[in-house]
Symmetry: C2
Subunit: 348 residues, 2 copies
DNA sequence: CTGAAAGCGCTAACAT
DNA sequence: ATGTTAGCGCTTTCAG
């Protein structure tokens, strides 16, 4: 069995104290450059590896950021992760990533686990089934920074990074109306989650502004990441003879287009389709999907920056002020929604 | 500032020793049931949280598995992660996930970081640019289990979980030949990586068996996750007037079909297309993509099981025997490759 | 069934 | 510029 080398072994070999070795290894400028070099060298010779656990115990922090994800099945989430990782790595933080599979029970378990692991802060996107955020109280009580992104709690008392889902919902719907659509079906997910509710409210607002009465028969709630459920929702709505679908997720929108084609319906001529997320897939299907660009990587970067800012400023006494950061998003018009302007250049 | 509760606080309050509290908290059956209950209760009252760091330091392990990923941008990798997580969670292991962005330098840095973090074992998929695996020596030396999956080293001296890429490449190519294709172009990634090389060898084998001479002008190497590079590769190959494309990645295959459509070419009538991975996208594009089903989740589960098995059996003395586990994969024939059997039922 | 003592490996205070 | 001492919070002998 391999004998694990400690700073004491290095100290003994060099005839100096462990403290000096520790400092030398951490490149403390107080230590003589020559000593430092010698320390580094014998560390290498002896095959020393820093014990992060011991160091963390002593320093009473973990230099890691906990990530609580609702799920990791989308291009969006992957992009967010990449954004977080980029800034976290630059600031020397590790990431402890958990995901809850849209199950609030697992979210709570993950929260507890990260708490015990002594993460320095957490970045969170709530599951569909999460109703309240009491499980974050231990963090709040200890002044451990928490930054929510995308799927955030209604509560104002926390930091969040979001896009303007209301405006996006309104914009997309308005665009469809301007294309001549009058019976716009809406497929979305659980409305207790802010993102879906806000988009739905935006949808209703646009209808209202154009004097179209909201018809709740044109609304379907389902798991938009699930193909079968989406197909069922589309089928049901088709009974209402809609002339457009506004769907809260690109994958589901692609499934919808597929269903429509199978029924011999043309997109956008017979029925226009509008997605949400700007997933890679939207640009690869026929017709190309109009959607809302959701800047995942940027959200991740901003969330991580905000968290690290709080981490650095936590003077452990004054409460950090909470803020809500809105990331710009934009509408991307492609073929699937262009009923009128078939020959006009899409303004992508 | 929140005062952090330790087992000593609980011990003092209960007039017992910290040892007993520790045992009680860990549900050690030696401790009187009543004492145990009291301990748990006051722990709750006082808002105690277990200090995993201290515990890990003392126990000299971290109860976490390190994951080294080449990249996290595909449905496949996500599926593997889900598989690993499923079995790791069941066995009470945490995951420390890193990714290298296909950069071997970052892979090496991540390796070192995980080593210092005292992960109990690692599960790895190599980057495209990784040439040798010397950076895993510290793990081997310490008898810390390492399991590679999918993108594995050529070296036999390690545990790996793979699919039979050679056979898959052969099968796909053979299928295209049977559809009447004679000039089959192949787009793939860096051939120093086993998965791509094996598929390529399978491709050549199938050609040879059907007395078709391999033409290296029909081969293009590029980053198949990059749209622009893929388009360029397709364009170049089109100069050779191929009648089929065998592409090592579904995303790239979708891009290819898109390019072909834009040029007014029909798929599969003019040119057949065959992908690899069974990504979600393949079933959503027109025509539907023929591909190889790559059981990511299963690979993840198997890899995690194998690792945990080694973790449990590491009697720190005898070398663990290395094995190569091959996961079954299968061909999925859809429309994009069916030149002849247009009216036959696909055997999906 | 419970406790005393030691120590995991490191770093922060406080000297010198 | 370097050393001494103590302790982060837990678990593990060993002893009773």
């Amino acid at each position: 069995m391999h004998k694990e080398i400690t700073i004491y072994d290095i100290a003994k070999k060099l005839g100096i104290s462990a403290t000096t070795v520790s400092r030398g290894l951490n490149d403390n400028p107080l230590i003589n450059k020559k000593t430092r070099e010698k320390i580094h060298q014998t560390a290498k010779e002896l095959g020393y590896r820093h014990n992060t656990i011991a160091s963390n115990l002593r320093k009473r922090h973990s230099k890691t950021i906990g990530i609580l994800l609702h799920e990791v099945n989308s291009y969006f989430v992957t992009a967010v992760l990449a954004g977080i990782e980029k800034v976290a790595t630059a600031e020397q933080y590790d990431l402890l990533i958990t995901h809850a599979g849209e199950d609030s029970i697992r979210e709570i378990a993950n929260t507890k686990n990260l708490l015990n692991k002594r993460v320095d802060g957490v970045i969170v996107s709530l599951t569909l089934s999460t109703r309240d955020i009491a499980h974050f109280n231990p963090f709040f009580e200890r002044n451990i920074p928490v930054v929510f992104f995308d799927r955030v709690p209604g509560d104002a008392n926390c930091s969040k990074v979001v896009i303007d889902n209301f405006k996006c919902g309104e914009l997309a719907t308005k665009h469809l109306i301007e294309q001549g659509c009058k019976k716009i079906a809406h497929i979305t997910a659980d409305l207790t989650r802010n993102v879906y509710n806000d988009r739905f409210e935006g949808y209703k607002k646009a209808l209202e502004e154009h004097h179209i009465k909201f018809n709740k028969k044109l609304l379907q709630i389902c798991n938009v990441s699930n193909k079968e459920e989406t197909i069922a929702a589309v089928d049901k709505l088709l009974g209402q003879k809609p002339d457009a679908f506004f769907i809260t997720n690109d994958f589901a929108a692609a499934v919808c287009i597929d269903v429509l084609h199978k029924k011999g319906l043309r997109v956008p001529e017979d029925i226009a389709v509008f997605g949400f997320n700007n997933d890679l897939i939207g640009d690869l299907i026929t017709p190309r999907l109009s959607t809302i660009d959701y800047p995942g990587k940027q959200m991740g970067e901003v969330a991580a920056h905000e968290l690290i800012k709080q981490l650095k400023s936590v003077d452990r006494h004054k409460k950090t002020s909470f803020k809500s950061i809105v990331i710009p998003s934009k509408m991307i018009i492609r073929e699937s929604s262009l009923k009128k302007e078939k020959n006009k250049n899409p303004l992508e």
